[in-house]
């Protein structure tokens, strides 16, 4: 358990926008994960994903880490931001974009 916590901590410290999800950004394997990928893509921020379906220890570990029972889970600058519902709500109100700006996460120029 200590190892998995250290791994998650290192993931979220290294990657300013870190998403734990089912599947990957190209092939999400759950509608809720897909929605968060879509939002991040739309927001134009670079993000890293980890597929919990390939790693049972990570799947349980990340739930304990954040005291959050479901996947996906989004972390920005090492802070747990929320799951699909919260991210959707924050995106709709513009809070998510504000969070990215405040966190110094640069949106890529949209094509």
């Amino acid at each position: 358990m200590a190892d998995i916590n250290a791994r998650i901590q290192s993931d979220i410290d290294t990657n300013p926008v870190m998403l734990y999800m089912k599947g990957n950004a190209m092939f999400p394997q759950c509608g809720f994960s897909a929605r968060v990928v879509q939002i991040l893509t739309h927001a134009g921020v670079p993000f890293k994903t980890a597929n919990v379906l390939e790693d049972a220890e990570l799947r349980e570990g990340v739930k304990t880490f954040s005291n959050w029972p479901t996947i996906p889970q989004l972390y920005v600058k090492g802070e747990f931001v929320g799951g699909c519902d919260i991210i959707t709500e924050m995106f709709q109100t513009g809070e998510l974009q504000k969070l990215f700006t405040e966190a110094g996460v640069e949106a890529k120029a949209q094509a």
């Binding site: 479901t70 747990f80 519902d85 919260i86 709500e89 924050m90």
Partner: protein, 77 residues
């Protein structure tokens, strides 16, 4: 394993007696719900904290027998 909407509502109201809880069965399969929970105790709390309180009220069922519960929480306007 599915859960009844009334059970979900009862568990939430047990933890948050003042809460106004609305549950919608999204797919009619007893497995995909949307819940809106309005409680004074949410005032001043982050969304993550609000949702964590609702998840705690469901005592581990979330992510297990309850696959999908879209949550919206707020303090009364």
């Amino acid at each position: 394993m599915a859960m009844q909407a009334t059970d979900i509502k009862a568990l939430i109201q047990e933890a948050l007696p003042d809460a106004q809880v609305q549950i919608e069965d999204l797919a009619g399969d007893g497995d995909h719900y949307a819940a809106s929970v309005v409680s004074e105790s949410f005032r001043g709390m982050s969304r993550v904290k609000q949702h964590q309180i609702v998840y705690a009220a469901l005592r581990g069922r979330m992510g297990g027998e309850l696959h999908a519960l879209a949550l919206q929480t707020s303090a009364p306007a």
